[in-house]
Point group: C2
Chain length 190, copies 2
């Protein structure tokens, strides 16, 4: 774990996702770890902090979440562009080496037996709130955020600092066909 | 309506939201129009196209949606920074001139009796899918996308063209306290 990582207060955790980044979703069950990318994720409540993510029924990561009841949402960086695309396109079902091939390195935070992806800018540990209708009808998974952390080089004191951080730490915003946008300049309304 | 606006195929409509912009939500009921900002919105399905947005029970716009069964999600631009902040902070309940004060100009698309906000880069007309549990428990509203349009100067042929369009047409990504980020540079994974 790099020395720049620090906890984020749970009531500020929504700010890690508020600007709509594409995220990495990871989960662990019965000795199996997996990581996928998801563009359809957002905050759902401030306090207690909740979030939601859309995950297709065919994904292995979703199966691990529904079996274990837990997952991690993390914010990948521009430096992880190819990793983010690869974990979104390779499948653990057909490619058992998916994580190694994609360059994923996992680490853990004390007290959380979950696979956190190294090199991201923010991490949200979540407990699945079982909602059969949302899961079956909409492929929508809702979680309570039970832990949050950031790389303080880019998110500190409750705010992103993309303007002053290294550009490789900017968030990714996926469109389609391998094309992403990095987050851009800061703007302030009066 | 400006001459650059053209329809977007419904199966490509998710791409209007895929990069996680802050959106404007508008609705009309019984002669009342309102517009608010929302950062917690994302696509929910490709085809038939669906989306979801989190709207607090105290908002007038949500009441109009639940009464009329319809709403518009639109993508505001950097040129609309102050408008976006103002419609997110003024309330029609206490400020009947909210829309005029915020500089909102409304227009319509043929066949849709809904208030579309002029100057945005994309518009998604939606029919509310009534889901009492999601609305009451999570403040989550789900809609079928029944019409989509873009300003072709910045979204054309199923893709955003932020790199080549005027920077004033970039999308806004809200954090907190009046601070937004504009979307940034295009990146392509292999």
């Amino acid at each position: 774990m790099n020395k720049f990582i620090a906890p984020v207060a749970l009531e500020k955790a929504y700010r890690l996702l508020n600007h709509g980044p594409t995220v990495l979703v990871s989960a662990r069950h019965a000795g199996v770890d997996n990581v996928m990318a998801a563009a359809w994720a957002c905050a759902l409540d401030f306090s207690p902090a909740k979030l939601m993510v859309v995950l297709d029924k065919t994904t292995q990561t979703r199966a691990l979440i529904e079996q274990s009841g837990a997952f991690v949402i993390q914010v990948p960086t521009v430096a992880q562009l190819q990793l983010t695309y690869d974990v979104g396109n390779l499948s653990l079902r057909t490619d058992p080496d998916k994580l190694a091939k994609s360059g994923v390195e996992l680490f853990r935070f004390d007290g959380h037996d979950l696979p956190f992806v190294a090199g991201c800018s923010a991490w949200l540990a979540c407990r699945l709130i079982p909602e059969p209708h949302n899961q079956q009808t909409h492929d929508l998974l809702i979680g309570d955020v039970i832990g949050a952390w950031s790389d303080t080089r880019v998110f500190k004191d409750g705010h992103w600092h993309f303007d002053h951080a290294d550009p490789s730490l900017r968030s990714l915003h996926y469109i389609a066909g391998g094309q992403f946008y990095a987050i851009g300049e800061s703007l302030k309304a009066k």
